[in-house]
């Protein structure tokens, strides 16, 4: 099942400049499964999104069709066909 991942500008050095990535996710399609597929091609992106236990980094938000995944089921959030995953750094720091 194909979904689209939107990459923020600050992370595009890890995707060879790509702002959108189409990802074929195996069933059952979840956010975590989509990130696993991305990690195979873009390990330098993955390490900035998740730690070595595959936990989502605290100050990176993942919107699944406009809803932040932590208000859904986190990495287990199911992805409908054609879902759009938007990755955005959250407000942090000073």
């Amino acid at each position: 099942m194909r979904v689209t991942v939107l990459i923020p500008g600050v992370l595009r050095t890890a995707t060879n400049g790509a702002s959108h990535l189409d990802v074929d996710v195996p069933e059952p399609a979840t956010l975590g499964a989509a990130l696993d597929v991305l990690a195979d091609t873009y390990p330098g992106l993955d390490r900035r999104l998740r730690d070595e236990r595959a936990a989502l980094r605290r100050y990176v938000n993942f919107y699944v069709n406009g809803e932040e995944c932590r208000r859904l089921s986190g990495p287990a959030t199911p992805l409908p066909a054609g879902a759009e995953i938007q990755i955005l750094p959250s407000v942090a720091g000073g």
Partner: protein, 359 residues
């Protein structure tokens, strides 16, 4: 002679260069908006700059430059990763190249408290299980800055001997290449416990050693300044000549094992230099006596110097350097006699290292 000073701050890295160590050219920031708690110059082959970087958003890593910051190399795969289920790397606190007899070996100390070893110059690291599996580990607590191995002192001769310090936990030593570790805190006071003389649990802020005297160590503790003359087996106070026994930094002169530098801070509950005066203290006799060095340093300095924010260079006449929480960096071209401002108004300085650029 050109000297380069790497200045790691909470929002990036700056590099300062000088021919005379009096006037400085500063460039940066590198690693913009990343915390740089660890910097190291690897002088074993050319001049490699290693940095422990951490983005509040995108996590920690290790970035390397072989051309003094013109280009940086950071592998796609995380160079340091915990291979266990109950921990993930939070921050790199220390990067320590091994002696020249062990080319390629670089040690890394991390938060949470663990040790990693690289044999490829810092591009990838292996987890040192022996320290992680130590039965004391569940009782190592976090200080205010987090729970970390922040100090690594590899023996200058024996590759199997390494001493580390962590806050809290104290000093640990291996003599078998990291397979087993023993607490080495006898004589170091932990005033914040009901029993102030425990086997471990101390908050040792920094340990330093001169390579020509491998059995002697100097330690700045969370209250307490100590020396060990028996490889860390026991520690004696050398704080009598200091205005206060609190502080974070401890630095040994590059060519004289009797000469050490520290930056006293009034107290745990009052983290300023005594009377707000910016002073480095130097001992020429291994801590038996101390003198204040302030020629060129300010008298109103309501800030502090962190554990890795003081260093020397490796020049024949040693330069001494320190940076402050308030973003000032000072250099002495003459072993502490006179001081000159390198940079001001930087973010909080967390780490400072200096080296002569090879010609």
């Amino acid at each position: 002679m050109t000297v380069v000073v790497a200045i790691g701050t909470r929002k990036g890295l700056w590099l300062a260069r000088s021919e005379d160590r009096v006037t400085w050219q500063v460039d940066g920031p590198h690693h913009v908006m990343q915390e740089v708690y660890a910097v190291a110059f690897d002088t074993r082959s050319g001049l490699r700059l290693l940095t422990g970087v951490s983005s509040p958003h995108f996590g920690p890593g290790v970035s390397i430059s072989d051309d003094l910051g013109v280009t940086w190399e950071e592998p796609a795969e995380p160079p340091i990763a915990f291979p266990v289920d109950d921990a993930a790397l939070e921050r790199v606190w220390q990067l320590q190249p091994a002696p020249a007899s062990q080319p390629g070996v670089v040690w890394a100390g991390t938060q949470p408290s663990a040790l990693f070893k690289s044999t490829d110059g810092g591009r990838s690291f292996e987890f040192v299980e022996g320290l992680w599996n130590h039965p004391h580990r569940p009782e190592w607590d976090a200080g205010f800055g987090g729970q970390a191995v922040h100090t690594i002192v590899p023996d200058p001769v024996d590759p199997d001997r390494v001493l580390v310090a962590m806050s809290t936990g104290g000093v640990y030593r291996t003599t078998d290449g990291g397979k087993s570790w023993e607490a080495r805190n006898k004589g170091i006071k932990a005033y914040f416990f009901p029993d102030p003389w425990p086997e471990f649990g101390q908050c040792v802020h920094k340990v330093a050693q001169h390579p020509s005297e491998p059995s002697r160590f100097y330690a700045q503790n969370h209250h307490g300044v100590y020396r060990s003359d028996d490889g860390g087996d026991s520690w004696q106070s050398i704080a009598d000549g200091l205005p206060t026994d609190f502080g974070f930094a401890m630095v040994v002169h590059p060519h004289d094992p009797q000469t050490i530098f520290t930056f006293p801070i009034e107290a745990d509950g009052r983290r300023f230099p005594p009377e707000g005066r910016c002073r480095v203290y130097r001992s020429r006799d291994a801590g038996a006596s101390w003198e204040a060095l302030g020629n060129g340093l300010p008298d109103s300095f309501w800030t502090a110097v962190m554990r890795d924010a003081m260093c020397t260079d490796n020049a024949e006449v040693a330069g001494v350097y320190f940076g402050s929480r308030s973003g000032e960096v000072y250099a002495s071209p003459d072993e502490g006699e006179t001081w000159h401002l390198v940079a001001a108004h930087l973010p909080d300085v967390m780490s400072v290292r200096a080296a002569v650029i090879p010609t």
